[in-house]
């Protein structure tokens, strides 16, 4: 089985609930567990927030295109935008203790994505900036 679902909204914080709802709808259709759907929703929230706050900073925001591709044993979530591109940097893992004690800390969103997704990659090309998140579904 292979299927692709695309959903596009403006890069605004107000759009996050619509992205979550879209993921829930697709996961339900694909019979993906609600736990896994929740992880995808959280990862999408974190990634989209990053794009909204930083990628489109200083411009009238464009679109965020969310694409879900179901394969036999995996689901791939592709988040594309057309704002300022990012580049990967090696850095210390964020301080989880600081977060637990309500102290200021940054970089936790992406760290969380790495912890919950099975594959994470990022690239920029003619079609925009793309964050690719792959999650094993365990289906046979």
């Amino acid at each position: 089985m292979r299927d692709t679902f695309i959903f596009t909204r403006a890069a605004e914080l107000d759009a996050l609930p619509a992205f979550r709802e879209f993921i829930a709808r697709v996961c339900e259709r694909l019979k993906i567990s609600s736990e896994l759907a929740f992880e995808l929703q959280l990862a999408c929230d974190e990634a989209a927030t990053n794009v909204i706050k930083h990628g489109y900073a200083g411009m009238n925001p464009g679109s965020i295109m969310l694409e879900l591709r179901a394969q036999l044993n995996t689901i791939t979530m592709l988040l594309s935008d057309f704002g300022h591109p990012f580049e990967p940097v090696e850095t210390d893992a964020p301080d989880v203790d600081a977060l637990l004690h309500d102290e200021p800390t940054t970089g936790f969103g992406l760290y969380f994505i790495y912890r919950t997704m099975d594959e994470v990659s990022y690239y920029t090309d003619e079609m925009g900036n793309h964050l690719v998140l792959v999650k094993n579904t365990g289906k046979e």
């Binding site: 009238n60 057309f82 990012f86 090696e90 992406l110 920029t124 925009g128």
Partner: protein, 293 residues
Amino acid sequence: MFRALRLKQAPVKVAPEPKTISIEQWLGDAQYPLAIRTINTLSHDAKQRFYRTLIPPELLGQLGINPILWRGNGYAVELFADPESGKVNLSINNPEDTRDAYFVLELQDNSTNGIDLNLILLNDPFAEKFGIEYDADGHATQWGTITRNLVEEERAQRAGLAPAQVRAGMGFSREVLNQLDVFLALCARQAISLEPLTYVSAWIFEKRGFAYVRGHKLMDDIHREFQPGGKLHAALDHSTPFRHPDAWQTVRGRAWAIHDGILETIGERWRDLRMIKVVGKHAGVETFPEAKY
């Protein structure tokens, strides 16, 4: 350590510099992205073979133009693709007045080595012409974006045209954009960008699968503020012929009000919008749900 993402400081080139791609490289690798500038170095006949893919044969057929010869019924397809230029312009004009274009399509390499759709015009030769592109003194208005010919614009509006239209449309926008996808795939390109001239253009390009590089939020804001209770809705006060109180209900009505400067009400202007279409992919954007044209 873990891999974080930080904002890049310099813009990213999405394809190699056109001047660095030779025809030999391009012939030897079907995935090598091809620029307009590279095609333009070819002979006139070779260029014509490439650019022929940009015009739907049925559009040419409707005008009585032979799709191979690019001539017929008194019409001709004009091709401007200078060897040193990164731009291609295809046009079909009124044989009796070459400034009166029925069809124009212009593509250009952009600063990030992508391709821009600069212009697409599809005017019905048999429809009445409105002189909105020249003001009363004969100066070009750039389709009403620099100066305006209010008398002609009002006539065009009453005739059911959208801002920047000199004649009723010929149709074929879907076919031309489909051909554009074919052309881009032929050139191993994956996307095309454009700046929509009017609200109607943006709405049409949404329907044809485009997303926004810039201006998606503006389009959402426009839709929200045109609803009853919104600031744009309130500004439809009939203070000019382009601000009819019912204008919020249709794409064309909104477009004329925006062309008339109504966005100043919300501290905005129609500028800096940019759209992108990924080849073979429909973004599904709909900033005016269930719109009436």
